[in-house]
Each structure stands twice: as structure tokens, then as C-alpha cells.
Amino acid sequence: MLNQMKEETIMNNLKNFTKGFFRENPVFILLLGLCPTLGVTTSAINGLAMGLATTFVLIGSNVVIALIKGLIPDKVRIPSFIVVIASFVTIIDLVMSAYVPALYESLGLFIPLIVVNCIVLGRAEAFASKNTVFSSLIDGLGMGLGFAFALTLLGGLREILGSIAIFNWKIFEGIARLINPATDYTQPDGILVFVLAPGAFFGLAYLIVLMKKISK
């Protein structure tokens, strides 16, 4: 009996963790947090960094909100959530500017903007305020990694098409270097539009179509 219950909780937690990737992927399925999705995904590394930053905020805010959910009156829950979220965003903002200044520079305004990312508030409202601390933690981790996954995918796609590179590694040139380290081959430019804003829309649209096809 006890074993079964334990198994059930584990299964539940596993489900909470994995749903963020495909079944309830915040970007591709729920279409949440599109502002950073479209704004920062010019390369895979930017997407990943943004995704991880959001994951940190999500986990933090989910845990704290789940902890204090009994204390917050229902009527003023949104201001309270926002304060919690804003604190974590401020933390990650300070941390990033201290340790990865280059990345921080390229992500720019989008880090403070995590405060108004609908995923964070959405999870707080829809999940953390109703569930236990541990499952909120799992949910935040799953959702955050799902978000990071989506952003990395989109960033990678745009990077490959836009500058024929992945994680700043130029593909053609890199392969040529691998074969002959002394080569002076320079690879051609990619499809420029994918680095620009319209490319984000194209890329996201077709990734959503693809995800719909796959998850069917």
C-alpha cells in the first residue's frame, strides 16, 4: 500500500518533470513567454542562457511560493508573487552581470524582463500556489528546462540557417579546419534574415508546426 503510494508520487513527479518538454512545452504548446523567445534566440548559446536563467527564476519562485502559499491572502496573491519573482530576477541579474558579462550584455534587457515572463507567473498561479513544495520544485525544473530546450532549439535553428554555425562553432569552416588545420577557408554567409527579427517568427512558426506533428 505504502509502496504503491510512493510509486504513484514518483510517477506524478516524473510526469510533472517531463510534461514541460513536449506535452505542455511552454513555448511550442502553451505559447507562453514569446517575448524572450523571439527576442534573444539569435544563437543557440543565447537561447540556452536565457532558458537557464528563466529556469533558475522558475525554480526559486515556485519553491518560495509553494512554501508561503498558506500565508498569502487570496486577494493579494498576484502582487506577492510578483515581488517574489522580481527578487529572484534581481538575483540572477546581479549574478550574470558578475560572472558572464559578455552573455549578460548580449541578452541585455531581456533578463530583467523575466519578471513579466508569463511562464513564471503562470506556473506560480497555476501550479505552485496549489501544490506541495517538492512537486513545485519539480514542476519549475521541468518547465524551465522545457523552456530552455525550446529556446535552444530555436536559437540553434536560427544560428544554423542564419550564420551556418552552432554554439558559435562555424560548421563549414570548422570541418575544413578539422581536415586541414592550416586551411584559410572562410565559409559563406548564411541566410541573413534568420538572424534578424523576421527569422524568429518563421523559425518559431515552423517549429510549432513540427511539434504539433510530432506530439500527435
Binding site: 486577494k75 493579494v76 502582487p79 515581488v83
Partner: protein, 287 residues
């Protein structure tokens, strides 16, 4: 230390000011919505089929909550179960209704009804019906262009390729009545589902006299009155040269099916009749 102090002062000050504002706003704009509407809506199937005559499931829920009794309110898609749930939520009693199902009252498949003309316009029964009586001699029968299929939100009706007639999927049909209003020939009818979904009905709406009806379609009702005489419950009437079985009165005795000379009366979901089958077989051999 400065940071902590600053944070504390700023946030507390903001908190106090905003709390006052929130208090005022909350007092000013108080909205009380009956939470029961949500509960009732959760009970409904959520198909928004409009079968209840109200705008969608939310509209139905609102009407249910507003109403004093559940009389006249019925969700055909959800049936008695849903109505019972709603009644429990509201603390009322729901009226029990016999479950119903859509029935296609035309048996004029391609091999029974010969085509006399070729139809060549927009593929819609409604368009075809404004143009002429149909591409067969029977001007009452099914046109087979699938307006009923199009309106069905439950995928419960489809056109059979072979016979060209619509077929109702018993498991999916919720008797919402969309196909009934869509059919320009008024062929589809909602009838009681019957015990073990056994039904008997006249599968013909031809109002021509016997001879032309028979000429147009092999399985037409020719108004011979045999079924009327055979029926022990007075459930069958012949009006305008077409028989109709009242499903309220019909006791499913199947006597009318046996006497019908054209096979216009259909029985559904009955166990096979052993004795009868043997009889017809022998007679066929004799012939």
C-alpha cells in the same frame, strides 16, 4: 547593511501605499458571480452543439442556475447522466428522458432507387433541393450529398459509399438534432433509442401513391396498410400514402416488419429470428 535597509524601507512603503489602493478598489468594484455556473458548466459535455437550444454549454449552465426547476432544460448530448449531475449540483431534480437517437428514414440505396438524371451543381443537399426533387424518381428520398454529415459535431453520421445513404453511429450520436434541421427533405428524425437500442421504424417518407412510389424505389412505403392491421398496439398510422410508427406506442413486437411487402420497415439490433429465417430459406429453394 544599506541594501537590506533600503529594500526593507522601499518595499514596506510600497506595500502600505498599494494596500490602501487595493483596499479602495476592492471595495468599489465588488462582483459576485454565482460559482455554481462554473460547476454546472463542468458537468456539461462542453461540445457546444446547441442541441439544448441555448448558446453553447455556458449558456445552458447559466440557464440551469437561473431556473427554479430543471423542467424544460435538457442536455441531449449528455443525456440523463449529465442532467443528474447538474441536478445534484443545484439541489434540484432532473426529469428523466428516454434517450433518443437520430434515425434516417430513407432506405433508397443506389441499387433500390434508380438514377434518372445526373446532378451537376454545388454538392450540397440544400442547393440540390431548391433545384429539383432529386436525381431519382423519388422526390422525397435522401439526396446523399451529406449536409447532415457536415453539421454533425460528434462525427456520428457518415455517408455509406455503397448505398449512398447516411448512416448514424449509435455510440457517437447524442441526438442533438443538428442533422434533423439540416436535412432539406426532413428525412432524419429523433426517435427513442429503445431498450438495448432496439428500434423499429418506417424507413421511407415517400408521399406518392403506391404505384409511382414502388416504381421509383424498391423499398418504398406503398401505403398498403398491412402494417396498420398487423399492429396490436395501434402504433402505426398511414397518412398521405406513407406509414409512420409512433415510437411512444410501439412495443417492439416486430409484427409489422414481417408483413411489410417492400421491406420499408426496418428493425435494428434485434436478435435474429430463427424460425422465420428457416421459412424464407425453404421458400426460396422451392421457388
Amino acid at each position: 547593511m544599506d541594501i537590506i535597509l533600503n529594500t526593507l524601507i522601499t518595499l514596506s512603503a510600497l506595500g502600505v501605499v498599494l494596500a490602501v489602493i487595493l483596499f479602495v478598489v476592492a471595495q468599489k468594484f465588488k462582483v459576485i458571480e454565482d460559482p455554481k455556473i462554473d460547476e454546472v458548466e463542468a458537468c456539461t459535455p462542453g461540445a457546444n452543439c446547441g442541441g439544448c437550444g441555448l448558446p453553447g454549454c455556458r449558456g445552458f449552465a447559466e440557464a440551469c442556475v437561473k431556473a427554479e426547476t430543471l423542467e424544460g432544460l435538457y442536455c441531449p448530448a449528455g443525456g440523463n447522466e449529465v442532467m443528474k449531475e447538474i441536478a445534484d449540483v443545484l439541489g434540484l431534480t432532473a426529469e428523466e428522458k428516454e434517450p433518443q437517437i437520430a434515425v434516417v428514414r430513407c432506405n433508397g440505396s443506389h441499387d433500390k432507387r434508380r438514377k434518372t438524371t445526373t446532378y451537376d451543381s454545388a454538392l450540397s443537399c440544400a442547393v440540390s433541393a431548391t433545384l429539383f426533387g432529386g436525381d431519382t424518381d423519388c422526390q422525397y428520398g435522401c439526396l446523399g450529398l451529406g449536409d447532415c454529415v457536415e453539421v454533425c459535431t460528434f462525427d456520428a453520421i457518415y455517408i455509406d459509399e455503397e448505398s449512398g445513404l447516411p448512416i448514424v453511429d449509435e455510440d457517437k450520436c447524442t441526438a442533438c438534432g443538428a442533422c434533423v434541421t439540416a436535412c432539406p427533405k426532413d428525412i432524419i428524425e429523433l426517435r427513442n433509442k429503445g431498450k438495448k437500442s432496439r428500434r423499429i421504424y418506417v424507413s421511407c417518407v415517400n408521399h406518392d401513391k403506391g404505384a409511382p412510389a414502388k416504381r421509383a424505389c424498391d423499398s418504398a412505403c406503398i401505403a398498403c396498410n398491412k402494417c396498420v392491421k398487423a399492429c396490436p398496439f395501434d402504433a402505426i398510422v398511414v397518412e398521405n400514402f406513407c406509414a409512420y410508427i409512433d415510437y411512444e406506442k410501439c412495443k417492439l413486437c416486430r409484427k409489422c416488419v414481417e408483413v411489410c411487402p417492400t421491406g420499408a420497415i426496418l428493425e435494428l439490433n434485434f436478435p435474429p429470428r430463427k424460425v422465420k429465417v428457416e421459412n424464407t430459406e425453404t421458400s426460396e429453394i422451392e421457388n
